[in-house]
Structures are given as structure tokens and as C-alpha cells.
Subunit: 105 residues, 2 copies
């Protein structure tokens, strides 16, 4: 099997810190559920041949809530909730149009 | 703080499976040490402003040993060992020339 040629690769920060850490973390803000929703969408929408969603370590955007970065275009999203996943999937992953309201500015 | 504009983003599969699982996993092949070596190199070589190394979940290249993917160019490396990290850093990350012998074919 050769290397995948992914059209899009989605990384979701699922870093978990000690609850006492003032930086907080994506895991405490629902990142695991966001990750699961992306994985399920890639499966359900039959995108597995060209897209993949993966958990990632700390993406260093801790002020911006649950952080997602989509490659190869390197679009950064912040404060992503479970409710935002379908829009990112349909608009960006399938349609090629990033969801502007969620982009980290 | 705006979104980072990373010149390169390195993802290292550190997935861990049950030792009884026949698929094996990157974690059992030294992936954590590879991840640490990339993170240390990014720090030591003063690349933090433009590069980042992150752990990732399963990159689905389980036949190819410890797997690393570098974005935005989407270069996939397999069977990466601790000894390979300095060459990837100097040739690819700093020099822009992927290490051909390590690429997944």
C-alpha cells in the first residue's frame, strides 16, 4: 500500500491538562466529541478514500477553545462545537469553502 | 493572537493498541521518542515560529512502522526511528528537500 493522497486531513486538538491548569485544554471543552463527530462524518459521507480526521496533541491555540486545523490548506478553526461539525463537513470538506465565522482570526 | 502560519507542521502517529492486537501500533515501535525528538529539534533549532511537531492518532499506515506526515506538502514517512530525525529536520524541515529513502511508496 502506497501513501495516502488525502484531499483533506483534519486534526482536532484533544489535549488534556490537569483541571487546575489555568491554560485549560481542548479536552475539557468537548474536543473528543468533536473528533468523534468528524470521524463519523468522514465515514457516513463516504469520504474515507480522500479524507481523514485525527486527534492531535496541543495545537497551541488554547485561548480559542476547541481547535481544528485542516490541511493541506492550513485553515484554523476555533471554538468548534459538536453543532459546527456538519457545516464544516458540507461547506469546507465537501464544498471547498471554509466556514469563515469559525476561523481563528 | 491570530492563527499560526506554519511553514511546516509535523504529525507523528503515537497510536497505542493492545499488545495482543495483530495490527501492532506505532507506540510500541518507539513513536513517543520520535515525537519527543521532533519537538526538541523544533525547539533547539529555533524553528518554533514557523514549525510545530504534534502527536497524532492512528494515521492508518500500520504496515509501515512509525509514521510521520509533514504538511502542507503531505510527505509521508514510514519506519521512522530516532536516528532518522536529524536528517528529516536538516534536509526536509530546514532545507525543503524530503528524505527520499524514508518516504512511504
Amino acid at each position: 500500500m502506497g501513501p495516502p493522497q488525502l484531499e483533506r486531513h483534519i486534526f482536532i486538538c484533544t489535549n488534556r491538562r490537569d483541571p487546575a491548569n489555568p491554560k485549560g485544554c481542548c479536552a475539557s471543552k468537548g474536543a473528543e466529541k468533536v473528533r468523534e463527530a468528524f470521524k463519523k462524518a468522514v465515514f457516513d459521507e463516504d469520504l474515507r478514500a480522500t479524507m481523514r480526521a485525527n486527534a492531535a496533541g496541543c495545537l497551541d491555540q488554547c485561548d480559542h477553545g476547541v481547535t481544528v486545523v485542516v490541511y493541506p490548506e492550513q485553515v484554523w478553526y476555533g471554538r468548534v462545537t459538536l453543532q459546527d461539525v456538519p457545516e464544516i463537513v458540507s461547506s469546507h470538506l465537501k464544498g471547498g469553502v471554509p466556514v469563515e465565522r469559525l476561523r481563528i482570526r
